[in-house]
């Protein structure tokens, strides 16, 4: 009886450790298969013929199709520039020059699902509908409440992350995605 309990507990611990560690590494933990630049992460082999199993797991286990690197370079952010997780009670500015691809888009995602999907257009913004500063900088406001200027709607609760995609990127960015200029994510105010 005591041996069976030990076996059950051992199996539970083994399965939990195996699952959590696999999901952690595939999700970008330890930066084993990702490159980080500030809060932004990119999966280094995503969209290449040499895509590693962890990167495949990150995308395909969530039912996400991976775009060819020649077509799309993609980054994800779960925190602001100070390293704090994105909080739906706060508002953020996302600022930078993003003109190194034919066009770009940024969307808010919740657990692999584009947020506010009944109003999907509110949960994303692309380069063609963005207002730019005189020097070409884009300043995007991420908040759950409407904001003047380039507003990216955030849900009112839950964990969120940002997905930034560059379409038809320049060859240098495809080869060295961690060297490209990415926008700063700055926390502005919190409720």
């Amino acid at each position: 009886m005591f041996g069976r309990v030990k076996l059950a507990i051992t199996c539970l611990i083994g399965i939990a450790v195996g699952l959590i560690s696999a999901r952690y590494v595939a999700g970008g933990g330890f930066d084993l298969v990702t490159l980080s630049q500030g809060p932004w992460k990119t999966w280094t082999s995503a969209g290449l013929n040499t895509m590693d199993p962890y990167t495949k797991a990150h995308f395909l286990a969530a039912g996400r199709l991976v775009d060819n690197r020649r077509e799309v370079v993609e980054y994800e952010a779960r925190s602001d520039g100070a390293g704090s997780p994105l909080d739906t009670a706060c508002s953020y500015s996302i600022a930078g020059r993003l003109d190194w691809a034919r066009w770009w888009s940024i969307s808010v995602s919740q657990n692999g699902v584009i947020a506010a999907n009944t109003k999907a257009r509110l949960a994303s913004l692309h380069s063609g509908e963005t207002i730019y500063e005189a020097d070409g900088t884009a300043i995007i406001y991420l908040s759950s409440q409407p904001h003047t200027g380039n507003w990216l709607a955030m849900p009112s609760s839950g964990d969120v992350n940002l997905v930034l995609r560059f379409y038809d990127p320049a060859p240098v960015s495809r080869a060295h995605p961690n060297t490209m200029t990415l926008p700063q994510i700055t926390r502005e105010t919190c409720q």
Partner: protein, 182 residues
């Protein structure tokens, strides 16, 4: 070996087995499920435009800045042709094997034509086997794409420049089709 060390070793070995199994098999199982779902939704060798309210369930985390259309192809009865109407705005066609590996993609600038026929053939039927390139450029508007598998998925995407243009972009996608070659 002491009892504690034995149980610790069992937990570690099981953890390693689960870790490897998750990484290797879960993506494949998930993609098999997605392919079945795509087939139920769109049928075989038939192009279906994905409505925005279905986008998240059909293509999780897909970019809502794009309109999407999917076609599950089956080459068991012979090649298929994707007859694509290519808009002047950003457009992308991507081909995937059932395990999720992308094997060919082309955007509107690379295509550089308004009407494009992509003949999809099984790679194993090619005269040069696996050493064949994934696509053979034919005439200006005819391309042969070699699929590594009998079945697969084609995804067409077109940029929605502004929300008011959604219907027009979807109509552009719907003007394409995905049919048996013969």
């Amino acid at each position: 070996m002491s009892g504690k060390l034995f149980w610790f070793s069992v937990a570690v070995l099981l953890g390693i087995a689960v870790h490897i199994s998750y990484v290797l098999f879960v993506p494949r199982i998930q993609m098999d499920a997605k392919m079945s779902e795509f087939t139920k939704l769109a049928g075989i060798n038939h192009l279906m435009v994905v409505q925005p309210d279905k986008l998240e369930s059909v293509l999780p985390d897909a970019d809502p800045s794009l309109a999407h259309a999917i076609c599950v192809f089956d080459l068991s009865a012979g090649p298929i042709v994707v007859k694509a109407m290519v808009p002047t705005a950003y457009w992308l066609i991507s081909f995937y094997a059932p395990n999720g590996d992308g094997f060919y993609s082309l955007n509107n600038r690379q295509a550089d034509v308004r009407n494009l026929n992509l003949m999809v053939v099984n790679k194993s039927n090619g005269t040069n086997g696996d050493s064949s390139p994934d696509a053979l450029e034919g005439t200006d508007n005819q391309i042969t794409v070699r699929s590594p598998s009998i079945r697969g998925l084609v995804v067409l995407r077109a940029r929605i420049a502004a929300p008011a243009m959604l219907a027009r972009v979807q109509a552009d996608l719907a003007a394409s089709n995905c049919v048996p070659a013969s």
